[in-house]
């Protein structure tokens, strides 16, 4: 089994790419074949991510399923000989839940996109390329490939949003999908400029002729270097994680995106940012982390409160969810910035929980929009009367989002708050205020949109289709599972976090 296991990450990463290649070869008019191929590939990937999650041995910990291929040799007088660029894949306790999350969201996203009629072939090719990038970032140990996959995950977004997205009319002004797509792409690539600069700085300063994270960990970076380049990584990855004040692409981009892309983007891609902070910034530059984390925790607090209050004022359903993502990513950033085991574990669990929850949110909002062609809260009323299942799904996502015990959000946020109170009690209180505001906007939204008298305009609406029920059901299952039995997840996450933090403490 061990030999099979060592290929599993490669297969998980390469399967979406292979799927994209296969779909490329299917003629565009054979829509059914394209959809079924996409679903089959996504299902296979999800099954493999399940297997990887279950097969990860949390007693042993560390990086498992490791496998390395030499990819490019770099000539030069390196102290350790020719290393060069390697395709080095492995997953630790932080990466494994993220891989599972991606597998789940990928599969449900394909199902939700079943009805896409405009150029489905191109859509699925780009969608799979993007997911290949996402998996690649989570499992790469070589900075070159980590960045390669990072860019691969970001770039197809422009076309996915620009072609298949939707514009929002605010009466006084129009937010077009082209605007959202361009803004999102430019913000994220601007962030990756900073990451790229920091990576080549690490390469040049390390002087080992390798981009391998494990090798570079032993390169002694001076304190000055760490303090100077840590902000590059924090801001660069932070842009994708929705870090205030670089978050403004997130609501605009998510709203303009088609449903499945919003699900993947808010559900998984934003986690790449937070994951990058842990995997690259904290892992390589622990002294820099020590120095800059107080700033990050402050920004994270602003994220939580600013996102929550902004969500309070939105009229468009998707904007509410978009700002709530900004708010929830604030908890992730705060948790990471505590640099204590409780807080960071909470942050990683929050990444998982928020990923599932937001995917469900966007799936439900997409279902409503498909039927009513509006997302205006003022116009939608009493939808539960005609769309009972959709309403129930939204309520589950909403309750998880405001942290109801028994659902996934509660466990994750509780851990983050416990971590916060150990280090920054005042900010912990501010975080809890953010959670209270979340309850206000979620409950108000549910009351306005789903309950109350039914607007006669919506009396002919149909409820969720079997495909929507099935895919949303998977997501609800995970929300409840993590809420009731968090320990299998926390055990795995904890092994990764403990090893990472041991390094920060040692510096």
């Amino acid at each position: 089994m061990a030999t099979v296991d060592s290929y599993i990450l490669f297969i998980i990463m390469a399967l979406p790419m292979a799927g994209a290649a296969v779909i490329l070869l299917i003629p565009g008019r054979r829509v059914a074949a394209i959809r079924w191929t996409a679903a089959a590939v996504a299902l296979a990937v999800m099954a493999l991510t399940f297997y990887a999650f279950l097969a990860y041995d949390h007693d042993v910990g560390g990086f498992q399923f490791a496998r390395t291929w030499t990819w490019l040799e770099l000539p030069g007088p390196w102290p350790l000989g020719f290393r060069g660029i390697e395709l080095s894949l492995a997953a630790d306790g932080i990466a494994v839940p993220m891989v599972l999350l991606t597998g789940v969201v990928m599969f449900t996203g394909v199902l939700i996109s079943w009805k896409i009629a405009d150029r489905p072939k191109d859509f699925f090719i780009l969608y799979f390329l993007m997911l290949c990038g996402v998996f690649g970032v989570f499992v790469s140990l070589d900075l070159f490939f980590l960045f390669f996959f990072y860019e691969l995950a970001v770039v197809p977004m422009y076309l996915l949003i620009g072609v298949w997205g939707s514009s929002t009319d605010f009466k006084t002004f129009l937010r077009t999908k082209e605007y959202g797509a361009m803004k999102l792409t430019l913000f994220l690539v601007a962030g990756s400029v900073l990451i790229w600069i920091a990576l080549i700085a690490v390469f040049a300063e390390g002087g080992l002729g390798t981009f391998n994270l494990l090798a570079l960990r032993d390169a002694e970076f001076s304190n000055t270097f760490q303090v100077v380049f840590f902000p590059f990584l924090i801001v660069g990855f932070g842009v994708l994680a929705g870090l205030w004040p670089f978050h403004t692409w997130s609501p605009d981009g998510h709203v303009a995106a088609p449903t499945a892309v919003s699900m993947v983007h808010a559900g998984v891609l934003m986690k790449l940012g937070a994951f990058g902070i842990l995997r690259v910034a904290v892992f390589l530059l622990p002294e820099g982390a020590d120095r800059w984390m107080p700033i990050l925790i402050g920004l994270g607090t602003v994220n939580v409160l600013y996102g929550a209050f902004s969500a309070l004022g939105q009229r468009d359903l998707k904007y509410v969810i978009g700002y709530s993502s900004v708010s929830h990513m604030g908890y992730v950033l705060m948790g990471i910035a505590t640099l204590n085991p409780l807080g960071v574990s909470g942050a990683v669990l929050q990444m998982f929980s928020h990923g599932i929850m937001t995917a469900l949110f966007f799936a439900v909002v997409g279902a409503i929009y498909d039927r009513t062609h509006t997302r205006d809260i003022m116009v939608l009323e009493g939808m539960a009367k005609r769309m009972g299942i959709v309403a129930a799904l939204f309520v589950v996502a909403g309750l998880a989002s405001l942290g109801l015990p028994g659902l996934s959000g509660f466990v994750a946020e509780l851990l983050v708050f416990l971590g916060l109170f150990q280090t920054y009690p005042v900010l912990g209180i501010l975080g809890i205020i953010g959670a209270a505001v979340t309850a206000v906007y979620i409950l108000r939204l549910i009351a306005k949109v789903f309950f109350g008298p039914l607007d006669p305009r919506w009396k002919d609406q149909t409820d969720a289709s079997p495909i929507e029920r099935f895919s949303s059901g998977i997501l609800v299952g995970f929300i409840v599972l993590v809420g009731l039995f968090p320990f299998p997840f926390i055990r795995v996450i904890d092994t990764g976090v403990t090893e990472l933090l041991a390094r920060v403490a040692g510096s």
């Binding site: 076309l159 400029v193 080549i200 700085a201």
Partner: protein
Amino acid sequence: MNNYVLLLPEFLVAGLAFLVLSGDLVVRQNRKYLLAYVAVAGLGIVLAVSLAYLWDDTEALYGGLFRIDGYSLFFKAFFLVLGGFVVLSSVDYVRRYLDHPGEYYGILLFTVLAMMLLASSGELLTAYISLELLSFGLYVLVAFDRYNPKSNEAGTKYILLGAFSSALLLYGISQVYGLMGTTRFDEMGRILAATPELSPGLIVGMVLLVAGLAFKVAAVPFHMWAPDAYEGAPTPITAYLAVGSKAAAFALILRLFSEALIPSVGDWQFILVILAALTMVIGNLVAIVQSNIKRLLAYSSIGHVGYLLLGVAALARVGEDGSVSLAASRLVVNGVMLHIVAYSITNLAAFLAISVVYSAPGKEEVSGLAGLGRRSPVVAMVFAAAAFSLAGLPIFAGFVSKFYLFSAAASQGLLWLSGLAIFMSFVSLYYYLLVLRQIYIEPATDPTPLKVPRLATGVLLVLFAGMVFLGVYPGPLVDAIRHASEAIVQSGSGLELVRSLD
């Protein structure tokens, strides 16, 4: 006799050029397109012959005027392949718009010969003559569309400024020869290594040399001719200008700087740093406001020259105390060569896609690409891939080559300039996205499916495959490049210099 065998590739290409040129006289008008296939087949044979005869051969002919080594072989093979691709992508264009196919292909083959000579020149005058042969061929080709006033204008501008730059170059060469008594690269390197302080005359000579070469590669502030020449020239020739002439000039520049000028790197590095920074910033910023796609790509290719110059500037690491280290020089040379290849494949694809889309020369507005995603998915896909590759995004060749080049330059101490280059790549993504928006998002003004000749589709797909292959598996190419760069970095002045400093 042995010498002639070593020159066999060059003789064969010259013979092929004369064959195609005279073929124009005897072949019937409606059969003349066959000359293109003769040219491609001939280039293929020459490629095979060169690889067979010159593999692992290292010699200096005629007292070091002409060098046979891995480096020149690499570039010769590259130029032969390049010439083949340009001929193939011209077939359709020539048939539709141009008279005298025989002359067109004949002159094209002469320029391929010139580029091959350039890659082998081991001394300034040989290089100069090769460069002139290349330029004269290009002057004619740029103005080849006789009935298009823009083509004529482009040709005139190109000749006038080209002649000016040749004069600069020649004056620089005479200055260098006057003060050093040699024009051979290896001897220049030896003399410079023994001269701690350069005389003002020599500095003037070197500045003129750099300026003349900067003209040829269209580096800012010597770039004024490029956008006009690119816009007016027949589109396949624009591709050839953007790719071939630059690759050839950089083949010379790399050898000149790493063999001859490296000992005085402390004196010229800052000039190249300034040139590189100006070129990448101005090229990419001005590209944003272009509405003609050929001008846009012209400015984008100016930006790419900036990245390549960054590599040349990073050939050696100059410490704050003036000490010179060549520790990562080969990494940088490899990076520059890799980027030349990646950039060439990508630009060929982009220009070929353009020449297929636009039905009339002279009106290549960006808005004319609207709805291409529906009119011809294949051409749209190849152009999108080329745009992403030029912007330096995976999974395409441009990402790997930029990453390699910028990492190498950073490890030579030019981190800030690499950072600037990365930032300018980001700027370039913006204007490529504007083009992609036309292609995929905007509705077409003329929604009829585009008729693409089968040959062009085939060439586009080959170039697309090349971009993706280099983007995910550059190993074989990089191995070849490493083998080639050994010839210019390990031999000659480089290592001696390090020893003298120790």
